[in-house]
Symmetry: C2
Subunit: 156 residues, 2 copies
Amino acid sequence: MKKAAKRAAGLHRASLTKLHDLDAALELMYYGWRGMTLAADQYLATLGLSRPHHRILYVVARQPDISIGALIDVLGISKQALNRPLNLLLQRNLLTSKRSVEQHRTKLLRLTAEGQRIEQRASDYERKVLRAAFDRVGQTGAAAWMAVMGAIADNN
Amino acid sequence: MKKAAKRAAGLHRASLTKLHDLDAALELMYYGWRGMTLAADQYLATLGLSRPHHRILYVVARQPDISIGALIDVLGISKQALNRPLNLLLQRNLLTSKRSVEQHRTKLLRLTAEGQRIEQRASDYERKVLRAAFDRVGQTGAAAWMAVMGAIADNN
DNA sequence: TTCCTTAAGTCAACATAGTTGACGTGAGAA
DNA sequence: TTCTCACGTCAACTATGTTGACTTAAGGAA
């Protein structure tokens, strides 16, 4: 993609005047999120999937046999909002659901092999970006980044 | 807000099993973005405003007399998408637009005093979170964070 | 002056990602 | 048997975006 095309698509980093000390950091958070997710989103788009689908796959990959209700809690969305992307993933056989043996009213979700493959690829795109960035600053730099992000995340 | 309520609202940080080395970092990016913007978004919501409005105010604050077209480029959205939030801000007198003197077909945008006040407050909420996090890791830690985020942002 | 381009504005149709409310079904506990 | 719980689904709505088409007005070029 050419520079002009990137500018047109808003993919460049705008160089705005900084009014405050932390404006640069503020903008870096915005562009950082975009930089991490851009390639993954493009990959998912080729499959007709997007961020919500990836979020579901990511969580189920790390918590096999998770129930619908628990998944709703982790994602922080309503069951109605979960409904559509979840059904798409089931329909595409990226996810399976079966009733629990002892608790027959809860459903347990698992990734299929194909679902696992897609989750891994999409997340790999994101991890690859992080890896490259961490490699530039070394272990102590990476640790500092984690500490800062932890503090920001827990602020509330 | 109680812990249970936060869990229900998805405001906690889910503790998922880590399948890969960088999964923790990946999740921190997600929760970090949310942690930085949460208080600002809540403030904006009390005014009937949201992220797109804040983005406009932020950019115009740092580039007074910016044209509509330049604003579209910086934000990376279509003029139709800009239309609605921009008109709301003009209607609320948070923003003014006047024709350029020499280039009468371009419009120049500026913040009003009220618009400036709101932009500052909203951004302050975000900077406050960053400040608190940076204070915990010192100057070198903050610099490392900036370096990592810069590398992530520029990845493409 | 006429013609072409540019900047902005607006209308319509659509996609996606979410919300709340209401209601249904079937499982299991009291 | 009745009540609650987990899940499912329908409807209506909000918000933030997209593309395409068309208009208006300004201004440069022929």
